[in-house]
């Protein structure tokens, strides 16, 4: 059975190809090598500062450039139709896209239009050598069990992957990729959806899903003002602030910070849960964190069962000590 190429739908924001694209290209390279096929990267943007070279270095063989002013502001209608168009033109066997808000918006629409399946938020992607099918692994309900999923009779096999799930491989700067311009039919660009504008989030509201370190607070934080303590630790470590649903429901902090089933799923390298007991809701959102630190007064808090480092104590005692220790380490390094 001849197998087709692996397509990666790149994430481009303001003309810059985002790191998650390289993570997917690296994984796509492995899958393509297993099948003896090519990695094709689709980049949709109004302009590109750089990016194709980077894509080549991480493993792209061909880069489809879909350049049009209509890609300046996110327009899900134009983007999903362009993905469908690119798939029809290149007939890949596998299509991977980031599970960002854009990927999670355009890919289901593209899958529906192509009449094929889509597996969301895969944490594992492998090839089954008997059938050459893509094995897509994702957390099942609540995140305590994993499910392996196959798309046996439909092509392409499509999957989204959360940022930071796969680490990008070593770039090879000598690699070259073929640059191809994808012509986009006018009827795709004539969209009923009008993108009118975009407003960047203010300072504190930046996306915690991009962070290496997240300091999260829960019921134990007890009031809005106390989140400043967590902000201080987070900013020393160049990270962001998260929260449990309880803290958000109490309006101590905004919803964009909510981590868990009804909020965001995060994959930082270090996650610090302060005053969070660890409901199933919350745990499901942090299961892909590399390392979990839990600070809680209650020795029986469920969070301690999943944490890698547990400190049983009042967060108002422990977090300031952490801040002091981090600060003195930073100062020592400066001098």
């Amino acid at each position: 059975m001849k197998t087709g190429d692996v397509m990666v739908v790149g994430e481009v924001r303001s003309g810059v190809v985002q790191p998650v694209t390289m993570e997917l290209i690296s994984r796509a390279r492995i899958l393509a090598d297993l099948q003896g096929s090519d990695v094709v990267v689709l980049l949709m943007s109004d302009e590109l500062e750089s990016g194709p070279g980077e894509c080549a270095a991480f493993g792209a063989d061909r880069i489809l450039l879909a350049l049009a002013p209509e890609f300046g502001l996110f327009n899900q209608d134009i983007q999903y139709r362009t993905v469908v168009h690119a798939v029809m033109e290149t007939k890949p066997a596998v299509v991977l896209a980031p599970a960002t808000t854009s990927g999670r918006t355009i890919m289901p629409a593209a899958a529906a239009a192509l009449g094929t399946g889509l597996t969301a938020d895969c944490t594992g992607l492998d090839i089954d050598f008997d059938t050459m099918d893509l094995i897509q692994t994702r957390p099942a309900i609540g995140g305590n069990v994993m499910a392996s999923i196959r798309t046996p009779n439909h092509r392409p096999q499509m999957a989204t992957v959360r940022p930071r799930t796969f680490s990008p491989g070593e770039p090879d700067r000598t690699r070259e990729a073929k640059l191809l311009r994808l012509d986009i039919p006018q009827e795709i660009l004539d969209s009923p959806v009008e993108a009118l504008g975009a407003e960047p989030a203010e300072g504190d509201e930046s996306n915690i899903q991009d962070m290496d370190v997240i300091v999260s607070g829960g019921k134990g934080v007890a009031r809005a003002g106390s989140f400043d303590l967590l902000r201080e630790l987070a900013s020393l470590l160049g990270g962001g602030v998260g929260a449990s649903r309880a803290a958000v429901d109490n309006r101590w902090i905004g919803y964009p910070h909510q981590v868990g089933l009804s909020g965001k799923a995060v994959s930082p390298r270090v996650y610090i849960a302060a005053g969070i007991s660890g409901s199933v809701q919350h745990l499901a959102g942090i299961q892909t964190a590399d390392f979990i630190v839990a600070v809680n007064r209650d020795p029986d808090a469920p969070i301690f069962r999943v944490a890698d480092l547990s400190i049983c104590g009042d967060l108002f005692d422990v977090i300031p000590r952490m801040i002091d220790a981090v600060r003195s380490r930073i100062e020592k390094r400066k001098s």
Binding site: R13, L73, F74, Q76, D77, Y80, T101, S102, R104, T105, P108, A109, A111, A112, A113, G115, G117, L118, T119, A120, D121, I141, G142, N144, V145, M146, A147, S148, I149, T151, P152, V193, E194, A195, L196, G197, A198, E199, P200, A201, E205, S206, L237, G238, Y255, L261, S262, R269, V270, V280, A284, F304, D308, L309, I311, G313, V318, M322, A325, V326
Partner: protein, 261 residues
């Protein structure tokens, strides 16, 4: 204006416990609720009903027990409710689920506006909304944190990673909403009384012209081939209240090991 709201009955995760030995969710005996984000979709519909004038129909695909969720939405203010239930629907993936919902919306529609929560707390895919829109052939948007309807258009704001985006989409369209869009209201006593008397339309595959083989396990493009428990390899370290400083010391080492400090 005719509005359809798509809802899903999900396990009440506040009640779900983890089995200590197997590490899996214990779902037996736990209650079910309307998927929290779907409550926000319902509230959006009720606000439009109150201020713009609209009828609100609610659709849910699921087992017969999903009637509870539909009755609750009637109590909250929906005008009618459709339970899409057929043994042939069992095991549907998001594509097949969307097909069932889209077929029902075509059979009982047309609707000017279709609303749903951005994702459900159980599957968490967020895929069914956009899939339904494409199958209906209407434009859509996701992650909507506010919108109004005027002059045949939905003017909306989406909340995404980097901030917000504003869009204008002609009706009919489908929108999936986030929780900051509104504050869902509680059912009133009168609403509950009305809900108890109301009929819920039971809809099977034949009613909405769906062939059994095109949905459910057989009709789903994706197949779950294996379910397994990830091996927990966390070598947890615990520091009690008397050893906080040692714990903090360890914390610093971990940051250093990862070049985060």
């Amino acid at each position: 204006m005719r509005i359809a709201v798509l809802i899903k009955q999900v396990p009440d995760t506040d009640e779900v416990k983890i089995d200590e030995t197997s590490g899996t969710l214990v779902r037996e005996g736990t209650g079910t609720i309307i998927n929290p984000l779907d409550l926000h979709a319902l509230e959006s519909a009720f606000l439009l009903k109150r201020f713009n004038g609209a009828s609100v129909s609610v659709f849910s695909m699921g087992p017969m027990q999903a009637e509870t969720a539909l009755r609750e939405s009637l109590a909250l203010g929906a005008d009618d409710a459709f339970l899409l239930s057929d043994p042939a629907f069992a095991g549907s993936d998001t594509w097949a689920t969307a097909r069932v919902l889209a077929s029902a919306l075509i059979s009982f529609g047309p609707y000017d506006l279709v609303l749903a929560g951005e994702k459900a707390t159980d599957g968490e895919t967020g895929q069914v909304g956009p899939e339904v829109a494409v199958m209906l052939g209407v434009p859509f948007s996701t992650c909507v944190s506010s919108f109004n309807i005027s002059g045949g258009f939905a003017n909306l704001v989406r909340t995404v990673e980097e901030g917000t985006e504003s869009q204008r989409i002609p009706l009919p369209c489908l929108l999936t909403v986030l929780r900051d869009i509104n504050e869902p209201s509680m059912p009133t006593l009168a609403g509950k009384m009305r809900a108890r008397r109301s009929d819920i339309s039971k809809v099977d595959a034949a009613t909405i012209n769906i062939e059994h083989s095109s949905v459910g396990l057989t009709g789903s493009p994706t197949r779950v081939v294996k379910v397994f428990r990830p091996r927990v390899t966390r070598g947890a370290e615990h520091f009690d209240a008397d050893n906080i400083d040692k714990g903090v010391e360890r914390f610093i080492e971990i940051l250093k090991e990862r070049s985060l400090l």
